[in-house]
């Protein structure tokens, strides 16, 4: 994911507006052309580049044309426009949480399970919950590449003197809100600044990532049905938001960090732990080589971790070319099977055999947070939600005032519910 790469990630989305030109140009005459769009603009994008190079060697009869576009709302706009026009690439990466906004509109083609099996990919290779979410009307519309939860990274050099490490170097179990705040204070004593880094200001996702994961931990349900007022546990939401406010007290964590600032503070050892996405693993290791990782602590009872999944989809094409379609399955199968390399980017590979392999279990810190994939808590399955959506942006904005201490948690939750209802009243584009 691109967003973390520069901190001011949103600024880069402007560049995306002009970067879609190259996708068709580099088609060569040798081999069947398979065009793939992705949104992997950060350090994970480089690793994907190496994976694709490997696939090129493995499948010399296929020409892979990979186009990386900036992550965010404009990516999905471009994908939708390309699909509507019927001249879309053969495959594209999409966040699984966005699938419900695309599949019903006829913008995507379902996967042919027989063809998938021919390239060695079957349902039993995937965690059941992930597979389930990739279905629409009993057909598979998305092929998950990974899960990428929101987790914690920590600096052992700070966690250890703070008394937060087990003898094996993993983070001690923290199972209630007060224990988490205490851990932050203990780390703050070591650093002399703050305990945790959490950058949420001016960000269209970070606030929601932590909130929604913790909301899932409370076990409170929800019902987002278009045309009806939202069913959302107001009390649980306020409890979560008040916890986040108490965390951002200037000692446990600063209340004025944005995405880049949080990374800077963690990398320069001003803090000992950062709440972030797995995709930051590679860049954080650049400054903290013995970086530790753990799932977000389960502090409200129910195991849940906010996350999403990069999944391949087959955008609708006006003139589908069977030869290219089959080559696409080969390419996607080969990419998925290189999950171990993909794990280097921090993401948790989707294929169970990869995660269970001894090679993966040797990867540190990946193996210490891989469990989060089983607890993955996606956005509500409704057309307007998901990664890079206006919905997430608006939720983050509503929370931001409260998190800065400029308003109450209750007011923020009221605003959020108001926004949710506005979205639910809006006719779905189909």
């Amino acid at each position: 994911m691109l967003q973390g790469a520069l901190g001011a990630g949103t600024l880069l989305s402007a560049g995306a507006l002009s970067s879609c030109a190259g996708s068709v140009a580099s088609a060569t005459s040798s081999g069947t052309l398979v065009r793939i769009w992705d949104l992997l603009g950060g350090s994970d994008g480089q690793i994907m580049g190496e994976i694709v190079d490997g696939v090129r060697e493995e499948l010399p009869h296929v020409t892979i044309d990979r186009t990386t576009l900036a992550w965010g709302a404009p990516y999905y706009t471009k994908l939708a426009m390309a699909s509507t026009g019927g001249r879309a690439p053969e495959a594209a990466v999409m966040h699984l949480s966005r699938l419900i906004g695309y599949a019903p509109g006829g913008l995507l083609e379902p996967f042919d399970l027989d063809l998938l099996e021919q390239v060695g990919i079957t349902e039993s290779d995937f965690p059941a919950a992930l597979w389930e979410r990739a279905l629409f009307q009993d057909e598979l519309y998305a092929l998950p590449l990974d899960t990428h939860p929101f987790i914690t990274f920590y600096n052992p050099a700070i966690a250890e003197p703070a008394g937060l490490l087990n003898p094996d170097g993993t983070l001690v179990e923290i199972d209630n809100p007060d224990a988490l705040l205490d851990a932050g204070r203990a780390m703050a004593e070591v650093t002399g600044a703050q305990g945790f880094s959490y950058g949420y200001l001016s960000d269209a996702a970070q606030g929601w990532r932590m909130f929604w994961g913790l909301y899932g931990q409370t076990g409170a349900g929800y019902d987002f049905t278009p045309g009806r007022p939202v069913d959302f546990d107001d009390g649980a939401a306020v409890e979560v938001l008040e916890f986040m406010q108490s965390m951002l007290d200037g000692t446990v964590a600063a209340n004025n960090s944005d995405y880049g600032g949080a990374i800077a503070n963690f990398s320069t050892e001003q803090t000992g732990l950062i709440f972030s996405g797995v995709w930051e693993k590679t860049s954080l290791q650049g400054s903290i080589p013995d970086l530790g990782g753990a799932t977000v602590p389960i502090i409200f009872g129910t195991p849940a971790a906010f996350g999403d999944s990069h999944s391949y989809v087959l955008p609708r094409q006006l003139v589908a070319n069977q030869e290219r379609r089959e080559a696409t399955y080969e390419v996607l199968g080969a990419i998925l099977k290189r999950g171990l390399r993909w794990a280097d980017a921090g993401h948790i590979p989707s294929l169970i055999p990869v995660v269970e392999s001894s090679e993966y279990q040797d990867l540190v810190p990946q193996r210490n947070y891989a469990q989060a994939a089983e607890w993955i808590f996606l956005d509500p399955p409704v057309w307007f939600a998901g990664s890079g959506s206006d919905f997430q942006n608006r939720m983050c904005q509503a929370m931001q005032t409260a998190l800065q201490g400029l308003g109450t948690a209750q007011d923020a939750v009221d605003t959020m519910i108001g926004e949710m209802n506005t979205f639910l009243e809006t006719p779905a584009p189909a």
Partner: protein, 322 residues
């Protein structure tokens, strides 16, 4: 026509009246023939054709198509839009966000236009007073205008950065609490206006500088002889003489500020809590993020109508002024 005639008259030798009359008649005939050719010739159309085609395809047709779209429930991902009559317009008039974002656009326009005129004028006057190193001042004041918006917003986002940014570091040195420049709803619009003024004031500055250079020197000489001081000359000669330029700057600036999108999109994406969302940003979000093209078109046309009304007011107001 008249120019041709007078040329012909001038060419007439005054020493030979009769021959002159003959020449005159011939010249007039030639001139008429040329004029006829000009009027009947079709070559002119070829010259305007390239522009006309571009104009029709990229301006007129999208306007017509947009009006049609605003009467349908067309979406970015849907294939068969249905006609919904004025439903989109009715929804837009009842949509609180349309009015909220429109109000915020007006706030931005007022908040940016006034400093963009005053600061530009003051800068032009300072440079015009004859400071040494004229080229340096001109260049320095105009240079920021040449930067692309992505660069401008990147620079300002760093300066506004809540934790490590330049402004909050300065405030900290003075013992003042940090300000959430782009994250506090009370400050975000002001912060965006400040960045906009810094970025675009150079253009207005240049217009004012040109206008200052065009004020006749003799006015100042006469005033000086009458004993007018520097302030008197400023308020009685310079500023009134800049009146036409101020009208021009005002008109251009109003239109530019009403169209605000880029810097808001890049700096705050409309946040915090929608406090900087301009109407164009709302139209963009509605059409291209939430995919409701029909509804987004309807809001666009309401906004378009308001701008047309404003332009007409200015046109008639401006004519009276002149």
């Amino acid at each position: 026509m008249s120019a041709t005639t007078s040329d012909a008259t001038a060419a007439t030798p005054s020493s030979a009246p009769s021959a002159g009359r003959k020449d005159l008649r011939r010249s007039l005939r030639d001139a008429e023939r040329r004029a006829e050719q000009l009027h009947s010739g079709r070559s002119g159309y070829w010259f305007i054709l390239p522009f006309a085609v571009v104009f029709l395809v990229f301006l007129v047709w999208p306007i017509i198509y947009g009006i049609w779209m605003s009467l349908t429930d067309r979406t970015l991902i849907g294939t068969s839009p249905g006609f919904v009559g004025l439903a989109n317009f009715i929804e837009a008039f009842g949509d609180a966000q349309v009015w909220q974002t429109l109000w915020q656009t007006v706030l931005f326009t007022l908040g940016s236009t006034i400093p963009l005129i005053l600061v530009a004028m003051v800068m032009a006057l300072l440079v015009f007073t004859g400071l040494p190193g004229q080229w340096l001042w001109r260049f320095a004041f105009f240079a920021s205008f040449l930067l692309p918006v992505a660069v401008v917003t990147q620079i300002w986002a760093w300066m506004y950065q809540p934790d490590l940014g330049l402004f909050n570091t300065w405030l900290g040195a003075l013992g003042i609490d940090p300000v959430g420049w782009l994250t506090d709803p009370n400050w975000a619009m002001i912060a965006i206006i400040a960045a906009t003024v810094w970025w675009t004031v150079g253009f207005n500055f240049l217009l004012y500088l040109a206008a200052l250079q065009a004020i006749p020197e003799h006015l100042y000489e006469a005033a000086a002889i009458d004993g007018a001081g520097a302030w008197r000359r400023l308020f009685s000669i310079t500023i009134p003489q800049l009146g036409r330029t101020t009208w021009l700057v005002l008109a251009l600036q109003l239109l530019a500020s009403l169209k605000v999108f880029d810097q808001i999109y890049l700096l705050t994406a409309g946040g915090p809590n929608g406090s900087t969302r301009s109407i164009l940003l709302y139209i963009y979000d509605t059409g291209f993020v939430n995919y409701r093209l029909g509804y987004a078109s309807a809001i666009s046309y309401i906004f378009f109508a308001l701008i047309v009304i404003l332009s007409l007011t200015r046109f008639f107001g401006g004519r009276k002024e002149a």
